[in-house]
């Protein structure tokens, strides 16, 4: 089980992947926005997304859980 966490305070601009999606290393899960920059959050391995913990418009803090990949 891999956990993908936010690296910084940001707004969730786009949720690209969905629960149950099969993802590979480097696939974009969500796109965050902070300080006028878009920051793609990528899968760091292959697996199935067991849960996406954020929705578009959410504010995430550094360390917040974004997705769980099983």
């Amino acid at each position: 089980m891999a956990e993908v966490r936010a690296e910084m305070v940001a707004n969730v601009w786009k949720v690209v992947a969905r629960d149950g999606d099969q993802v590979d290393d480097g696939d974009t899960l969500v796109i965050l926005e902070s300080m006028k920059m878009e920051i793609p959050v990528l899968a760091e391995g292959s697996g199935v997304i067991t849960k996406l913990h954020v929705a578009e418009g959410d504010v995430v803090q550094e360390g917040d859980l974004i997705a769980t990949i099983g």
Partner: protein
């Protein structure tokens, strides 16, 4: 002189404009969002008006809220700073229609230069050199492929209505073009509300050099020297200097003359910047775009000329002559600006946070234009600029030495900062030699 001015901006630039206003006895009105209530500029203004929530669209980009703030505070003029609505011709029109003085060029000049395609065409007609590119907006990828063949690879793909490097990308071949075009188009629609794309021949090994112009109330246009802005990450400036180490006296003369022509072509009033790409080896340049407002890096020009550019903006807006004699402007020494961003110094990813320690350097030739102080929180809502660390020296070597000492002395704890990047930049043999171009940052931080 103006009676009062509402500064329709935030952070360091609002503070900068307020400083000159107060020195000249012009009543300064600040505006602020929820996120910015505790920033220094709010307290330093004569009066401050709350605009709305933190999101830019509901505060600093809300024209109606800004005009209402001006009405409530009886401000008689509006200074837009840079970014937000500074280059929005409709906002300028609404300010003027409300009976207020707009501290900036006329709305028509803003429009003419705001559309990069129109600006290129206009400059070509005025005799200012432009690089090969598209003369009409490109809106679909098939057309982009045809146009890129005509222009010649590598090409730069840009949003026609854009700025700040957003959506810009270079392409070396058709596959790269298709990818860059898609990125540029989605960003253009999202950030600038127009999908129009411009293709231009990409100049490799170029320096990014711009000329400060000032359109006087009597219609004359002055060029106040150049600034080298080749130190960039993600097509955004990180450090600037004047004079440019890559511009010879004869090239400077031609660039300044072209910048005056560019300003005259749009009947320019106030402070503006003509951005060019310079091929230092060939000693040639092409027009890139014009920014119709005060530039972030204006302090380096102020340091070498001794001219307060914000004061000149106020004077031009009030219909008065400048405070200096245009015939005797003689830049002296060398100035650098280092942009202190809230971002990590390696990957340059944003790092907002609460500032627990903020200790600015001081000393001979050191000027810090800061937007924050200890106790403030840097939020994710706005751009990452924390402060501009500027230094002036008798020559480039002294300016570099002062910059090194100032970077070491600058202490910021809390948010991430790129101070360590600046230390590396100032130690880099390439930067120190002066013989560098826009690829410098990617060499200092290879992926």
């Amino acid at each position: 002189m103006l009676d009062s001015v509402l500064v329709a901006n935030r952070g360091e630039i609002a503070r900068r404009v307020i400083r000159t206003a107060r020195r000249l006895g012009v009543r300064a009105v600040a505006v602020y969002s929820d996120a910015d209530a505790d920033l220094p500029y709010v307290r330093e203004a004569d009066e401050a008006v709350h605009l709305g929530p933190s999101q830019p669209a509901r505060s600093y980009l809300d024209a109606a809220a800004l005009l209402e703030a001006a009405r409530k505070s009886n401000a008689t003029a509006v200074h837009p700073g840079y970014g937000f609505l500074a280059e929005n011709a409709d906002f300028a029109r609404r300010v003027i229609e409300a009976g207020l003085t707009w501290v900036g060029p006329g709305p028509v000049a803003i429009e003419q230069m705001g559309d990069k395609i129109r600006a290129r065409n206009l400059m070509e007609q005025a005799g200012v050199p432009v690089s090969p590119g598209t003369r009409e907006p490109v809106t679909d990828v098939a057309k982009a492929v045809i146009e890129a063949e005509r222009v010649g690879y590598p090409v730069m793909v840009k949003a026609a209505g854009g700025g700040g490097g957003i959506g810009m990308g270079a392409a070396a071949d058709e596959a790269g073009l298709r990818a860059a075009f898609e990125t540029a188009r989605t960003r253009a629609e999202r950030f600038f509300g127009s999908p129009a794309i411009l293709l231009e021949r990409y100049v490799e090994r170029a320096r990014h050099v711009e000329v400060q112009i000032l359109g006087l109330a009597d219609g004359r246009v002055l060029a106040l020297g150049e600034r080298d802005c080749s130190v960039q990450r993600r097509h955004q400036k990180v450090a600037e200097e004047t004079p440019s180490p890559g511009v010879s006296a004869s090239l400077r003369e031609r660039m300044l003359a072209a910048a005056v022509k560019a300003g005259e072509a749009v009947d320019y009033r106030g402070a503006g910047t003509v951005e060019c790409l310079v091929d230092a080896d060939a000693g040639s340049f092409v027009f890139l775009e014009m920014n119709t407002r005060l530039q972030v890096e204006h302090p380096v020009t102020e340091l070498v000329t001794g001219i307060d550019l914000v004061e000149q903006q106020f004077l031009v807006a009030a219909g008065e002559p400048p405070s200096f004699d245009p015939a005797t402007v003689q830049p002296a020494g060398h100035a650098l600006e280092l942009r202190i961003y809230a971002e990590d110094p390696v990957r340059f990813l944003p790092g907002p946070g609460t500032i627990s320690e903020w200790d600015e350097p001081a000393g001979d030739g050191v000027r810090v234009d800061a937007g924050y102080q200890a106790g403030n929180t840097v939020t994710p809502f706005y751009d990452p600029l924390l402060a501009k660390l500027c230094v002036h020296g008798a020559d480039r070597a002294q300016a570099l030495e002062r910059a090194r000492e100032a970077v070491t002395a600058f202490r910021i704890t809390g948010p991430k900062t790129n101070l360590a990047f600046h230390a590396d930049l100032l130690a880099s043999p390439e930067f120190v030699s002066g013989d560098y171009d826009t690829s410098l940052v990617s060499k200092l931080r290879p992926r």
